[in-house]
């Protein structure tokens, strides 16, 4: 690999100083004269019709500037999922509707001079509901006679509304029945996963106003400014050109902000009041009125030969998307297409029903269907390896997809439609397994189970996982670069840094390609008026797709830079090199001209600006790979599971900024720990949230963390800028199965339901003891 000056180095975040000094860079950090406060009246019922709604008292309250109900706004079916057009999610959502489909659905919205007045106005809205029977159990959603949640005629792209089926997927490679006939062993198990919430520290927030030309400006905590602009324009029935979306610094997204969630209603209140309006979710509202991870029931069946070779794998899933089908088909599609192909089985089958229920709406969440699928697959594989008498490490190395393989399931199963085959052009998985195993002390710890006290038992477990890098053939991005007098470059990207460090990584790519130091790149991102198009921050796409656009744009600009330098140095372009903010001749005399001189010459002698832009997409989605190893200690008296050590080795291609890449791994792993052990948004029998706060919904704190080891296994990906793939999602998949497998190794019980609660472990231990006693 060529020596690199910026890419591959641990530079500071380009927006870091503003963040550590508390600079006013987030959505809420502005003062807009005359700004109103908007609030939504949430439905108290999981399923109901609004029979009568009286807003006169609310409208009459001093300080109230707008009250909106379904009668006041256009009825445009849409999806809130921030996806490329045409979105594969059903168009089943309305700005405001007369039917309520979950506790927290929008009944009405108000804008008032203060938050207190807005809240008072909500109390003054009189609503008479016709309460309907609700579907709270996803296993009952398709039953004959179940209440129909989307009986409205104008929604589209719903698979079977009469049976509450938002989406249905069936794909098969080879012939699984034949595969199972060839197998020496077949194991089939059921797994259950739950509702996890993103809990970004900054809840959703949007501020809208009309600019002096009457255009609607939306300053919002979004991962998808361009999709948001298109969707708001459609819903509010105005031209796209009349909407301007600004994405400032974002306080965490994790998929929850890949959603057009407050922008439409805040825009509607702004249009109604002709005043700036701010809307933000409280923490409680964020828990149940934003989005969450799809709960799934997974049946996984795998057939293997006596020598350990997998011949057939079959995954059958029932998932619920809650009241609306945001990301319904695509999240669940990923549960098949990113999970099953990890093993080189000639026969694979994936079938999935995604059903509506009267529960909070699920959506995109880091991992996007993979945490559920890998929990099932990697737990099952651990059982199979045991039956075969194989070390799980050996089983993985024997069966996992490898360099040069093609994943054919992805060809059948793309973004809600047919996809493209995935060819593995870079693969560090074997090294990931080897290094993470060594870090955890696999060989020694696999057999020793005694903890420091007799009731404490220890064990180790592992999981292998993969993901994608952008959506093949769908995700695309663009970038524009222009040169300034001082030899610096202004980089404009539509990409949305939501905290993961995209602005820094994209600046590094530009600097490397141009041969300048990082301080010579000034980046502007995520603004629909001032930066070019990008689909947004999702699907682990930014480094590879947006980064690919930046590299292309930089190469085009470099050609212009070299052309000017060639004149100044009187040397042909091919004989010029660049680096450290200058262009130099490659001959021994080594004449050089600085970027500043080049810029000044172009601008004031030649009278043109050095500038260019480029767009980029890939027809493949190179998988990053990950091996997760966990060591746990189980208290056999209480069922409490303590993770002692979690070692994660990831192949991200080339890490553009290794320190940031490690940070992505550590953050993903921590969310994975919560998913495995402590986080679950609970509902009562009527669909009401029971724990919408950080006291009762436990995310890991600094004191709860186990020892973390992070290992980057770099490979060189031909489709990525400077060899980069992606890293932000894949590490979230491993903790749950690795911990479940470690618990089995420690105490011999299999937990197949998430989160793994002490009571479940204790029940399993008691059942195990009873079973032993009766033998």
């Amino acid at each position: 690999m060529r020596e690199r000056h910026v890419v591959g180095h641990n530079v500071r975040k380009v927006d870091g100083v503003a963040l550590v000094t508390g600079g006013p860079v987030f959505t809420d950090d502005v003062r807009i004269p005359g700004m109103l406060y908007g609030k939504i009246l949430p439905s108290p019922h999981a399923h109901a019709i609004v029979k009568h709604i009286h807003t006169a008292k609310a409208r009459a309250l001093a300080g109230v500037r707008a009250v909106l109900t379904y009668r006041d706004v256009p009825r445009v079916p849409h999806t809130t999922a921030g996806q490329a057009w045409p979105e594969p999610s059903p168009y089943d959502t309305y700005l405001l509707d007369s039917k309520m489909r979950f506790v927290g659905d929008r009944v009405a919205a108000v804008a008032a001079e203060s938050r207190a007045i807005a809240e008072e106005a909500l109390r003054l809205i009189d609503v008479e509901y016709d309460v309907l029977p609700a579907v709270i159990d996803m296993e009952q959603a398709m039953a004959p006679g179940a209440p129909v949640i989307h009986d409205e005629p104008d929604s589209t792209k719903i698979h079977d509304r009469s049976r509450n089926i938002a989406g249905y997927i069936l794909r098969e490679i080879g012939n699984v029945e034949e595969g199972f006939r060839e197998a020496d062993y077949i194991v089939e198990r059921e797994y259950r996963t739950h509702r996890q919430q993103h809990t970004p520290l900054e809840p959703h927030i949007t501020i809208c106003w009309l600019d002096p030309n009457g255009r609607l400006v939306i300053r919002s905590s979004t991962q998808v400014p361009y999709h948001c602009r298109r969707q708001v324009a459609m819903i509010l029935q105005m031209p796209v050109s009349r909407v301007h979306v600004i994405k400032p610094r974002i306080g965490g997204g994790f998929g929850g902000k890949q959603e057009m969630l407050l922008e439409d209603i805040c825009g509607a209140l702004t249009l109604a009041s002709r005043r700036p309006v701010k809307m933000e979710y409280t923490r409680e509202e964020e828990f149940y009125m934003a989005r969450s991870r799809h709960p799934q029931i997974l049946r996984m069946k795998m057939g293997v030969k006596r020598d350990g070779a997998v011949v057939a794998s079959q995954l059958t899933v029932l998932a619920t998307t809650g009241a609306y089908g945001s990301h319904a088909n695509t999240v669940q599609g990923n549960t098949g297409s990113k999970v099953l192909p990890l093993y080189r089985a000639p026969h694979m089958r994936f079938e999935c029903h995604v059903v509506y229920t009267n529960m909070p709406v699920a959506g995109a969440f880091r991992g996007y269907g993979c945490p559920q699928g890998f929990f099932a697959q990697e737990s099952l594989v651990d059982e199979i390896a045991e039956q075969l008498g194989m070390d799980p490490v050996e089983f993985h190395l024997q069966n996992a997809i490898r360099l040069g393989d093609t994943d054919k399931l992805s060809a059948q199963l793309g973004e809600g439609r047919e996809g493209l085959p995935r060819l593995v052009r870079s693969c560090g998985l074997p090294q990931c397994v080897e290094k993470a195993a060594a870090a955890i002390g696999w060989a020694e710890k696999r057999r020793v189970h005694n903890g420091p006290r007799p009731h404490l038992k220890r064990g180790v477990g592992m999981a292998c996982t993969m993901q994608g890098s952008g959506i093949a053939g769908v995700d695309w991005a663009s970038a524009f670069l222009k040169m300034n007098e001082d030899g610096s470059f202004f980089l404009q990207v539509g990409a949305s840094d939501v905290g993961g460090g995209a602005d820094t990584v994209l600046s590094q790519i530009a600097a490397e390609a141009l041969g300048v130091t990082l301080d010579k790149i000034v980046i502007a991102s995520g603004d629909t008026d001032n930066t070019p198009f990008d689909v947004g921050a999702y699907a682990s796409s930014t480094t590879i797709i947006s980064g690919g656009a930046v590299k292309k744009a930089a190469e085009k600009v470099l050609t212009q830079v070299l052309a000017v330098a060639a004149q100044l140095l009187e040397t042909p372009m091919e004989k010029l090199g660049r680096g450290n903010n200058e262009v130099f001749t490659l001959c021994e005399c080594r004449k050089a001209v600085s970027m500043t001189e080049i810029a000044m010459h172009a601008m004031y002698k030649e009278k043109f600006q050095i500038m260019d832009g480029a767009s980029h997409f890939n027809t493949d989605s190179p998988p990053p790979f990950c091996a997760t190893f966990a060591e746990v200690e189980v208290d056999t008296e209480t069922g409490q599971v303590r993770v002692l050590h979690l070692a994660t080795a990831v192949d991200p291609g080339v890490a553009v900024n290794p320190m940031q890449a490690e940070g992505q791994v550590e953050g993903a792993v921590t969310q994975g720990l919560g998913y495995a052990l402590t986080e679950e948004l609970l509902l009562d029998g009527a669909g009401r949230p029971l724990n919408p706060n950080f006291l009762d919904y436990k995310i890991f704190s600094a004191m709860d963390m186990p020892k973390l080891t992070t290992i980057l296994v770099e490979t060189d990906e031909p489709l990525g800028p400077f060899g980069a793939k992606s890293i932000s999602e894949v590490p979230i998949n491993g903790p749950a199965p690795a911990i479940a497998n470690a618990i089995y190794n420690a105490v011999g019980v299999r937990i197949r339901k998430l989160p793994i609660r002490p009571e479940d472990v204790l029940h399993a231990l008691h059942a195990q003891a009873e079973a032993c006693a009766t033998l």
């Binding site: 550590v20 900054e202 905290g499 940070g663 950080f694």
Partner: protein
């Protein structure tokens, strides 16, 4: 509504603010332009609104503004000295301890309160001091490393 005067020192400068009696410190600070004080939960659970009151880290969403009458309040905006970053801020940048940066001001201030009273903390003490500052991005490893590195650097600067 009857307003009350609030004499208070914020970031070393004395101010005389007019507040409503029931107003929270978080709301008043943000209204006065201290946007580094973040609104994360308004229930004292996440720590994003942490400020130092007379050197102690507090959740400004759980305090009435009136309670800081005559007190010394430090927000993140007051930590750098004439543009020179505090060693904890430098360490957060060098260690990649800030990702989205929303919890960062609160975390840095909790760390400052710790190092002011305990300049040589153990890792466990740092973790305890940061336990009230939830972070969804970093997994805490790099923030903890950053605080320990800042402590080491500050000890060097003070000398043995």
């Amino acid at each position: 509504m009857k307003m009350m005067d609030l004499p208070v020192t914020v970031n070393g400068r004395s101010r005389a603010w007019s507040i409503a009696p029931g107003e929270l410190l978080l709301d008043v600070l943000r209204r006065e332009g201290f946007f580094g004080v973040k609104r994360g939960c308004e229930q004292g659970e996440c720590g994003a609104c942490t400020v130092l009151v007379n050197g102690r880290a507090v959740n400004s969403c759980l305090m009435f503004a009136a309670q800081v009458e005559g007190c010394d309040v430090l927000t993140i905006e007051g930590l750098a000295d004439n543009g020179k970053l505090h060693p904890i801020q430098e360490a957060f940048l060098d260690h990649g301890a800030a990702q989205c940066g929303f919890c960062t001001p609160g975390m840095i201030l909790s760390a400052k309160a710790l190092l002011d009273r305990n300049p040589h903390p153990t890792e466990a003490e740092v973790r305890e001091a940061l336990a009230g500052n939830l972070c969804r991005c970093t997994g805490y490893l790099k923030p903890v490393e950053a605080v320990l590195a800042a402590a080491a650097r500050m000890a060097e600067e003070v000398g043995p």
